[in-house]
Every structure is written in structure tokens, then in C-alpha cells.
Amino acid sequence: MSIYRSAVNHPVTTALIFIAFAVFGVFSLSRISIAQFPDIESNTIMVMSSYQGASAADIETNLTKVLENSLNGVANLKRLTSQSKENVSLLTLEFEYGTDIEVATNDVRDKLDMVNSFLPDGASLPMIFKFGADDMPILILSATAEESLPGLEKILDDKVSTPLARVSGVGTVSVSGAPTREIQIYCDPSRLQAYGLTVSTIAQIIGAENRNLPSGNIDIGTSTYNLRVQKEFSSPEEMLDIVVSSVGGKTVTLRDVATLRDGSQEREQESYTNGQRAARIIIQKQNGANTVDVIRKIKKQMTKIEKTLPSDIKITTVVDSSDTIINTINSLKETILITFLVVMLVVFIFLGRWRATFIIILSIPIALLASLVYLFATGNTLNIISMSALSLAIGMVVDDAIVVLENVSTHLYRGERPKEAAVHATGEVAISVIASTLTMLCVFLPLTMLNGIMGIMFRQMGWMVSIIMIVSTTAALTLVPMLCSRWLKAGPKTGKLHKIIFDPINKVLDGISAGYARLIGWATTHRKSVILGALIIFLGVAAAYIPGMKTEYFPHTDDGRLSITLEMPMGTAQEVTAQVASSIYRDFEAGIPEMQVCNVTYGQADSDNAFASMQNNGTHVISINMNVGSITERERSISEIATQVRGILRNYPELRRALVTEGGMGMGGASVVKVEIYGYDFETTDRVARSVQGVMLQDPTYAQVTLSRDEYTPEYQMDFDRTKLSLNGLTSTTAGAAFSAAMSGTLASYYREDGEEYDIRVRYAPEFRTSVEDMENVTVYNAMGRPVRMKELGTLVEASVPPTIERKDRERVITVNGIVASASALSEAVAVAQKAVEQAEVPQELSVVIAGDYEDQQEMFSSMIILGILILLLVYMVMASQFESFMSPFVIMFSVPFAMTGIMLCFLVTGTAMGVMSLIGFIILLGIVVKNGIVLIDYTILCRERGMSAIEASVTAARSRLRPILMTTLTTVLGMLPMALSNGEGAELWKPLGITVVWGLSISTLVTLVLIPTVYCVFATRQEKKASKKK
């Protein structure tokens, strides 16, 4: 018994099977987490090794090169970059996407084990650490305070970061930017000298005075007592009364030689939120945890925490990566809902019957929900890709049901009983329904076999659509006939209202069908003009489009965030940086009305703040996070705001480098073109890079162009003369230690209060650390107790440290980073970069490569083209076996070039650039555009088999098949329209996909509805002539 007869005979089972799909789907839906993109596993491993005292060049030769040579052979390694700077060598290994990072880590460890013995003595063993998208902070909060400011760090530590770290899924919580309490002992060098004291003796004395000592037990009478010396300071002021020396019978207390300051650290990272001193709370998630889930839990916890905080502490959100995700997914949900309604309306208008419409529409939720089971079972998320797949599929899932229902209606009109009509009608179209699903599977199943970043992006889409197609076909062959046999009647009674609405619609549709049949009658007798006309359309559009073709990689998204990194000249004092930072903030505040939250951070990061120390930091670096709210709340796009920010920053000539990056993190910011200049000599590569940068900067296609190489860092070196040292009975170590104790201070001891420890630091008072003379006057005591000044031991020289040496794939490199302006396409920017390189007169020994997004784009485009060809072949093969002919599918394939015409016309009209999403759209079109041809040619062949001539058959097929073709095409095109027109947050990403399919399918349908019958007639009449000759 056929599957459709069993379905019709077992309505309960059939219904329950599909209800089960739906129930599992709803269950899955309630459990699936949401994310922006499919999980992208980290593909980067870093190897760090230090070699104290070695310069950048020494590190490069002795450490970096040795490590690079051994690590170069690790399997699946894509890129190997390195940075050699003073003391440290840092290698970054980027693997192909999809590589098992655990295996790669083991490989790296093995290679390092082999090479360890070749590393220079004194170099530390290389450390491996992994860094991926999971390590990016998911939430940055900022806490502002008024009277609680001095104690802010402790309050945040106790009340915020500790409870937050307990929230499941939270990795680390670090607090930075709050003032850190430190007790400073500022010594007066001349007084010290007068009493023969040094910074280190003071530090020793303080350390010795600040002790609690357990001293055993004593038995007195019948009791045992513990003995204890309790001399830790109970208040910082106690320290001032410590006796540090005695001169001529008089005691010298600390008060006589130094002052005490109980305040915050001298140099620390400072953070301001909306102009107010604040602390940043940076939250990272655990590997594999879901961002949205974790942030939701954190926020829940935060509402409890906020109640326990002092009333003047305000917590604001600086970066919330779940905002974008939630908004994006919501706008996709909206798109899907609209699509569903549009498709329902189209079906209803064509059928004019509620029951029939309901039967067809029912397959949408069932198929969609079934695909969610896959998402849940494989642990995937609802993200842009999987939701786009859902939206994409809605218009296509109804096609099979429409074909089946249409044929059932035909049978019913003939007078068959509903049950028999359902079974036989389904049986008649089953093969063509399966074939058309197979052509779609030819497109989407290959997507599931992709590797690399494309695999991560599109594998889910492939599976989802394939599952949806399979389920919808199954529903069309079982559920639809079952429901038809129950609900459809031969001649349903129609009311007056129904007639008023649907009679005109039917008249129009019949008119169109008749007109179309006449058109085909004309076209099949004027074949040459039709084919020539089609050729002219194709070549004309191609000729108009290709010369000015623009390409991009991923579309430019707008998530309402700007991250700005500003660098003042190396070694700028923190006070100067602070002034510039606050002045820039005021300019932003005045000029950018959209600004909601602006966090400004500068200064040297604490070494225990993992995230901050990973970032570029220092007294000269200002980093700004700006939040301008969702796109729906403002007029200007983030690119326009970024341009304005760049304009404001141009008024600050003291900024050596200004990086304005759109989008907080992840994909979809502005495109980047990197010009990599490989060569050993710093000077020549610098010259070439600057020349390339100059040309690129002048071109409006670039919003910002920076160089990767730092400039030389200025520094003072204390150059001791060994003869002088030995004459004074000193070594460079003792002299150096005294120098550093005076300048940066010695950690004397810890002051304990309420279970917390604060540093007690002894050093020269700030006023004695301001000039070269001050440094030269630092005194050190030799073994004879004689004071010696630094200037007697050597000279203070001004020097500059060479910049970090960057290497890529084992060669020195300098990169010119260009951010493409929002109005320009990546391809235009690349053309400018190429021109810049040509003008730069690159010496022969250098090589120049254009990389960045361009490199990835080229890689992806070429694999997409191969994929497209493969899919085209598969589609042809499926059709050829369905028709059991090579000719008919060849004729149908004529719709493919016109899909291209449609896309080209779309880019031409809208002026947008072709990116990855449009290409995916084109690949999907390969499966969709042939569907109309299949329906048309299949019926034409049927008519010929019934004895009609080719022309007659074409006209009959045209008249009879136009309605179903229009219906399926309209459901697909109109189903894509909400996607193509959506304007919500993140819409930039899926819009190109929708636009491409809408234009490609519309144009291709319009052209091929005329062209395909014509071309078919050309071949068919030739066949007919051959056959009659044989006779």
C-alpha cells in the first residue's frame, strides 16, 4: 500500500506523527539558547616566552626565530605571526577554522618540548595560552561613586565581583579603574642623607616594626597562657613615630625624614563614565557558556546586589553584548512572522478557500518546528544564520503542498470521492514533488559539507533547510492528502461576499493566463527574436554591471557601539593624557547627541587585570567605549557617528594614533584592508609603508589608515661606569637597586585593616623625582658607609628603544591598516590600495601583499564559486534523471543566467556591493529558479505525449501551469520580501540574502517564462523533424 493511501486510511496516526513533530519542536524552542552567530570555536593559540634583558632584535634572533622554525610544522596551521619586544617574544598561531584546538595545543606543546633545549639560557620556558572569541568580555559595567569613591574598589570587590563570579557561566570578573589604596612614605633625600639613611633602610625598619609574633606558651599556676607580640600598626599614622635612627643621642623618627600619604596608587588605570570617575567591572564568560543566558543571570543577580550597595554608587552598563543579540533575534522573529502572514495571504488569494489555505499553511509551522528539534539536539543556537534559514524556507515549504492540493482539487471536480481523489491525485504528482525537493537538497546538502569559516556559517543553514524541505515534502505526501480527504469537498458552497471578492481575482488570473498563452503562441513562432531579445537583456545588463562591479565581504552592521583607542606619543605622562582625555570627552558630549554611555579609560593597567593587560595600555593610551543605542532609536548610522568622531579627533594633533572601530566585538564591523609589507630593513619598510599610508589617507574610500609598527620609545638609561663603581666599592646591582628604590619605591610591608592588605611603599617624595638632576642626585651608600651620588658613578643617557618587531609567516612585516569608509565597497578600497602600492616604488627585496578582509573574501568567493558549479551539476543530474533526458534539463538551465541578470540588475539599481550573503543567495537561487522550468516543461512533455505538437503543447502548458507557477513564485518572492526590506537591528546581515533572492527569482521568472518554452520548441521541433525523417 502506498504511503499516501496509508496516510489517508490512518488519519489519527498521521495527524499524531505530525503533532509529535510540533510538540518536540515547541519543547526544543523553549530550550534553545540564542546567539548572534553559530559557535565559532577559537582557532588561535599564543605562545609566550620571556628572556630578561634582551632587546627586541635579540629576542627576534634568539627566541622568536627558534620558536617559529619549530612551530611552523604544526598541522593545520594557517598563519604564524609574532611580536618580539624587549624581554618578551609572543607568537600567535592561527589555525584553519574547524581544527580541533585541543589537538593543535598538544601538537604545539610537543614541538615546544623538542625545541626547549635550544632556547638561550635564561629564557623562560614558553607558555601556551588560548585566546578566542569566548575570552572577549561579554559585559562591561561601570560604577560611579561620590563619597564612597576612596573605598570603591573594596566595595565592588566584596559586594559585586565576588557574588557575580558565583553566577554559573561567569568566567572571571575583574574590577579596574577604581582608586587602589596604598600608603606612601615620601622621603626627603637631603634629610635622609643628613641622618645617613637610605630608602631601603627605612623600608627595612618599617617592615621590622610592623609585625605580630607568636611567642610560645607559659604556665602560670594552673593555667597555660599563649604569648604574643602584637606590634602591627593599627593606624597608618603610627608609622610616623617609628624611630629610624639616633644621632648624637637624639632619636630620629620617620616624621623627621618623610611624610605619609594614605591615598591611592600613584600610577593606575583611571576610568571615567560619562565624565565621572568610575570603576569598570569587566565580566568574561566561561568557555562555551551562552552569552545571553549568562548576562540574563548576571542582571538578575545585579538587581539584588544593587540594593546592598551604598546609595551613591551607581552602576551603568557600558557594553552589553546581549543587547545586540536579543534585538537581532527579535527583529528576525518579526520578519519570520510577517513572512508567514504574507505567504498565507498569497495562498488564500489564489485558492479563495479557508480550508485549503489552512491545509497548506499548516506545513509551515510543522516543518519549521521539526528543524528546531535538530538545533536543540545538536546543541546549536537560534542565531542569524539559523533564523535566516527559517525565514528563507517559509516561502518554499508550501510549494509541495500547493502542488498536491491543486491536483486533489482537479480530481474532486472530476467527481471523485474525496478519499480516492486525495490518494490518486497525490500519487500522480508524488514523483515531481520529490524531484523538486531533490533539486533543493542538491543546493542545501552541499552546504552542510563545507569546511572552515564557511562551514561554521552555513552548515546550520544547510541542515535546517534540508530538514525543513524533507519534512514539508513528507507532510505534502501524507498529511496534506489526509486532510484533503477529510475537509475538501468537490463544489464548496460559496457565499455572496466570497463571490464579490474572488470573482474579480479569478477573472484577472484567468485573463493573465490567457494573455500568457497568447504570448507563448507568439514567442514560439518568433523564436529568433525571443532568443535574441533574451541574449540582449543578459549581455546588456552584464555589460552595464561588470565594469563597475563592487564587492565586499560581510555587510557592515550597526550595533550602536564604538570602541576608540587613542595613543599619545610614547611616554606621555598620565596627567597630560588625562587632560586630553577629558577634553575629548567634552567634545564628544557637545557634538554627539546620540551618546548614551561613554567610558574613558587611560593609564597603565594593573597586572592582575587579565583583560585590561591584554589590551594596549600605558600612560599614553586612552581607550573609549561609546554606546549610542539601538539603530531604531536614532537618525544617524554608526558610520556617520564614527566619521564625526574621527573629525573631532583630528583636532588633536597630539594624538599619534587614533583607532575608531565600529562595533564592539565580533563580525560585521567596517571592512579592513591590510597592506602587508614584508622586508628585513626597518627604514625601507617604514618608508614604503608611510608612502602607501599617505596615498590611502588621501582617498575618500578610507575612513582611517594606521601603521602597525610602533615608534621608538624614549627612555633614560643609567649607564654606570664599572671603574667608578669599583673605586667606590659598589657593584651595578647595589647601585641599581638604590636607584630603583628611590624612583619607583620599595614595598616595605603591608598595612592590614578589616582583613584587607594595603601596600606600604617607601620612595622619594614626588617633588624629588621630577628632573634629570634629581635622578643624578640619588645617593647610594657603599660598604664603608660613605654616600655616593649617581652622577659620580656614571651618566644618565637619553636613548630610544626600537619598536616591537612584528613578523608574519617568519618574515618581518609592517602592516598598513585601512578601515574602509561606509560609503565605499571593499573592492574599491582594494583598488586604491593597489594603486598606492604601485606608486610606492617598492624595492625588489620587499614583497607586498594585500590582506585583511580582502584575503578572506577572495578565499571565500573562490570556494563559493566551486560550490556553485558543483551544485549546478547536481541540479542538472537530478533533473536529467527525472525527465530521463539530457535535453529538457538543459533547456530549464537557461533560467540560471537570468537569475544572475536579476542579481546584477539589483546591484546596478541599488548600488550595493556583492558580498558573501549575496553569493549564498545566488547559490540558493540555483535550486529555486529551475523549479518553474520543471513544472512548465514537465507539462509540455505531457501534452506532447498526449499527441500535441511542440507549439501546441507549449501554449497549453502555459495556460494551464501559469497559476501554480505564479503561486509558488509569489510565495517565495513575497516570502523573502520582509527579509529584504527589514530595517531592524542586524538587518544589514540578512538583507542582501533576501534582496538577491527576490531580484534573481523575479527577473529570472519573467524572462524564463517566455524563453524556456521558446528554447524548448527549438529543440523539440528539431527532434520532431529528425523523427519524421527516420520514418
Binding site: H411, E420, A421, E945, R946
Partner: protein
């Protein structure tokens, strides 16, 4: 006794046997999925790509007096939906084993 041979569109399916049953006739022989074409008009029922519809046939041997009502009932069914196609043929039965 007479033999009634009915060849009809498979869409009638059980309907034909039911007609015999309603006239108190138990015995019949049925063929499913067979092809055929009318002498004068109507679509051929060949089960091919061009003519996908198929026929069924029933052969029943019935007493002489039942033939007329059965044929009348069959005619009624046929006239209800002439597009489907149904033909009946009656001839004499000489021997029954």
C-alpha cells in the same frame, strides 16, 4: 446466471463492489491497477506519464433478475460523474463449477 464485467476508473474503488453487495451478491473477482481506453471518448487510463489514471475491473456472476438493477445502479453512478469513466458488459454464463 449472467456475468457482469465492470471496468472503471480506480477512483470508484470500493463503490462498485458495494453496489453488488447492496443487491445481495457476494461473489466477485476484482483486478486492480489495470489500463484501458474507451472506444469512443474519454481520457485513456494508462498509468503513464501522459495519462496517469488507472482502471480497476470487477467480474461478478449474478442471477438474471439482478442484472437489471445492478446495471441501472452502475449507470446512475456513471452519470453522476461522467468524466471518471465506467463501463459494464453483460454476457451469459454457460456452466458454473
Amino acid at each position: 446466471m449472467k456475468a457482469v464485467f465492470v471496468s472503471y476508473n480506480q477512483a470508484y474503488n470500493e463503490q462498485i463492489v458495494e453496489i453488488f453487495e447492496s443487491h445481495g451478491q457476494r461473489g466477485f473477482t476484482q483486478w486492480k491497477d489495470i489500463s484501458g481506453r474507451g472506444t469512443v471518448s474519454g481520457e485513456p487510463h494508462l498509468g503513464s506519464h501522459a495519462w496517469p489514471v488507472m482502471n480497476e475491473a470487477v467480474l461478478a456472476v449474478v442471477p438474471d433478475e439482478v442484472v437489471e438493477p445492478v446495471v441501472a445502479a452502475l449507470k446512475g453512478v456513471d452519470e453522476e460523474s461522467p468524466e471518471l469513466g465506467l463501463r459494464a458488459f453483460v454476457w451469459n454464463v454457460e456452466t458454473i463449477l
